[in-house]
């Protein structure tokens, strides 16, 4: 089922489909997705996806992914009152990662207490000799926790910053108002083959990758933030072919003859079909995608790139020096009238941090 929310400035669309190979083998979809949007201010928006591991010993990973989503949303909601000047201290992010892992472990522990493993489940657990180590707080043996193993990707769009958090495989793509595609997190070379880092591993908090980017007069929030489980990127011939998803979604929104909202409706209506097709012709894995659409930034892209019959086809990367194609048209005014969604850019009213504070835009 497609999840979506339509607010004045933002639209969130997301869905999860069972993988083609899972359908053949009768294995359930172990991905999960959910989001939170603050009301009435719209920000922060929190979008989370999680991918429960598929191996036999991770037999409760769908539950583990659901608990991961729940935990990350709960913890990250606490960022609503945490402005840029506070969060730029790296210790806050460290605390956040530890808190997510600790609270997830507590939920897993409660679930095990409420639903003890059956004999059949116990036979699937890989108990290693001598692995009687306990997690902090006297939680279960790590071999038991592994039954719930899951990845976790979270995007937090706050009034004064964007925070990306990722543990394990999967992807975050952003599309800027000028069409530049970016992957905000660096590559993690441990995520190779079918191996991933996970919430169920010891010291999982230290395996998170994160990036914190301020929103100010020189750093605008992305037009699109797209987060997905690894089944999506693995369905494309190459990284480059996958990155085209970003610009194509933006063009689907901007090119729709009935306006941007209709374009987003189109994405919402078709997303599940697209993901099913990607899984069938690609990886065969479960695929989950969540998209935060920032309408004012999308409009800037459209204003700069479209005349009714002219569109930009070139895929641009952050490293490209090519200036954005600027095409203005009287027809644009007609679109603005149709869409009627043009509030002031929220980022323009935010006090800019000093340049000294920008150093957190790094790992």
């Amino acid at each position: 089922m497609v999840k979506s929310l339509n607010k004045k400035n933002f639209r969130i669309v997301g869905t999860s489909v069972e993988g083609a190979s899972h359908k053949r083998s009768g294995k359930p979809n172990q991905d999960r997705i959910n989001f939170f949007i603050s009301d009435p201010s719209n920000l922060p928006i929190i979008l989370v996806v999680a991918d429960g591991h598929g191996g036999k010993s991770y037999f409760r990973s769908g539950k583990g992914a659901a608990l991961a989503i729940e935990t990350s949303l709960d913890v990250c909601k606490g960022l609503e009152k945490v402005p840029w000047d506070d969060i730029k201290d790296k210790k806050i992010i460290d605390f956040l990662c530890r808190d997510i892992v600790q609270k997830w472990l507590e939920k897993v522990n409660s679930d095990i207490q409420a639903n003890p493993f059956t004999e059949e489940e116990k036979s699937l657990l890989k108990i290693k000799k001598g692995s009687s180590s306990k997690r902090p707080g006297g939680l279960n043996n790590i071999d038991l926790i592994s039954a719930y193993g899951s990845t976790l990707i979270t995007a937090v769009l706050h009034e004064t910053y964007v925070l990306y958090l990722q543990l394990g495989d999967g992807d975050i793509l952003t599309v800027a108002e000028d069409g530049n595609i970016d992957k905000p997190l660096p590559e993690d070379k441990r995520l190779f083959g079918n191996e991933t880092t996970s919430l169920c591993l010891p010291e999982a908090w230290s395996d998170f990758r994160f990036r914190l980017i301020p929103i100010d007069s020189s750093n605008k929030p992305p037009a699109l933030i797209i987060i997905s489980t690894d089944g999506y990127a693995n369905s494309y011939l190459s990284e480059h072919e996958f990155e085209k998803v970003g610009i194509d979604l933006l063009e689907n929104i901007c090119e729709h003859p009935d306006g941007m909202h209709a374009g987003m409706d189109y994405i919402e209506e078709n997303l599940a079909n697209w993901l099913n097709e990607a899984s069938e012709k690609g990886s065969g894995d479960d695929i989950t995608v969540g998209i935060i659409c920032n309408l004012s930034q999308i409009k800037k892209y459209r204003d700069n790139n479209y005349e009714i019959t002219i569109k930009k086809k070139e895929i641009k990367h952050v490293s490209d020096d090519t200036p954005p194609l600027a095409i203005k048209s009287e027809e644009i005014a007609k679109h603005e009238k149709q869409d009627n969604i043009l509030p002031p850019d929220p980022s323009e009213s935010i006090d800019s941090p000093t340049n000294d504070n920008l150093g957190i835009d790094q790992l």
Binding site: K56, Y58, R190, T197, L237, E241, G246, P257, G282, D285
Partner: protein, 236 residues
């Protein structure tokens, strides 16, 4: 006006590589002929498994070693088009050279990082005559060498099981020992089907969740394949 987002879709490549001993001793007691027959006979079953797992594109190659080593078919060939060309036997056992050549082909590129863990099957009846350890190290220095599913088959009692065990890299999995043509046929078929099936749709997992060297869950080797009863037919 609108379209499915993203570029070209593609299934994930699964490289399956036979690494065959073609030293002079393979001429004895029809070993090389039995190997040729076993692999040819296994191809239909291999293609069937590939058909049943359409999200993996099974690409097959063969590498032979005797005095030196060379690709029999260097280009990764889709299993539906793969043809087995009978191997001849002559010369010594440069197994290390074979692993070194294999390591070059497992680099990224020409491999892609979105591939499935490759399956490497080493088949030998003797002891390496060159520097096996250097070849193995070069292979294991490659990310896909480490992540590969490595299986070995010992043909007859003169094979160096220690070397074949080192190639596997896991104490959980032992070399399969073929003492006659019938056993070899069964073992080749098992590798071509059961192992291929597991490698075609490996589930995501955490580091160290599999025994070292196995990388994807390998099905339990049936007794009649792993340790067939000795009998009068044991000619190797």
């Amino acid at each position: 006006m609108t379209k499915m987002p993203g570029g070209e879709l593609a299934t994930r490549p699964l490289h399956f590589i036979w690494i065959c001993d073609c030293s002079g001793s393979m001429m004895a007691e029809g070993k090389i002929q039995s190997l040729n027959t076993a692999i040819k006979e296994a191809l239909p079953a291999m293609r069937k498994v590939a058909d049943e797992n359409p999200n993996a594109t099974v690409l097959v190659r063969a590498l032979k070693f005797s005095s030196g080593a060379q690709w029999v078919s260097k280009d990764p060939t889709p299993v539906e088009n793969f043809k087995w060309f009978d191997l001849d036997a002559d010369g010594v056992t440069d197994m290390g050279k074979a692993l070194s050549i294999l390591a070059d082909e497992l680099k990224i590129p020409p491999m892609t990082d979105r591939a499935l863990p490759p399956v490497l099957v080493l088949i030998s009846d003797g002891q390496p005559t060159d520097d096996f350890d250097s070849g193995l190290k070069k292979l294991m220095d490659q990310a896909w060498g480490k992540k590969a599913v490595r299986i070995s088959i010992a043909i007859g009692g003169d094979a160096d099981n220690d070397v074949l065990q080192k190639f596997i890299g896991s104490s959980e999995l032992k070399p399969l020992i073929a003492k006659n043509a019938e056993a070899l046929i069964k073992q080749i078929k098992w590798v071509s089907t059961a192992v291929l099936q597991s490698a075609s749709s490996p589930a995501s997992q955490t580091k160290d969740s599999q025994p070292p060297g196995t990388n994807v869950p390998i099905p339990v080797v049936p007794d009649d394949i792993n340790n067939p009863p000795s009998g009068a037919g044991d000619v190797w």
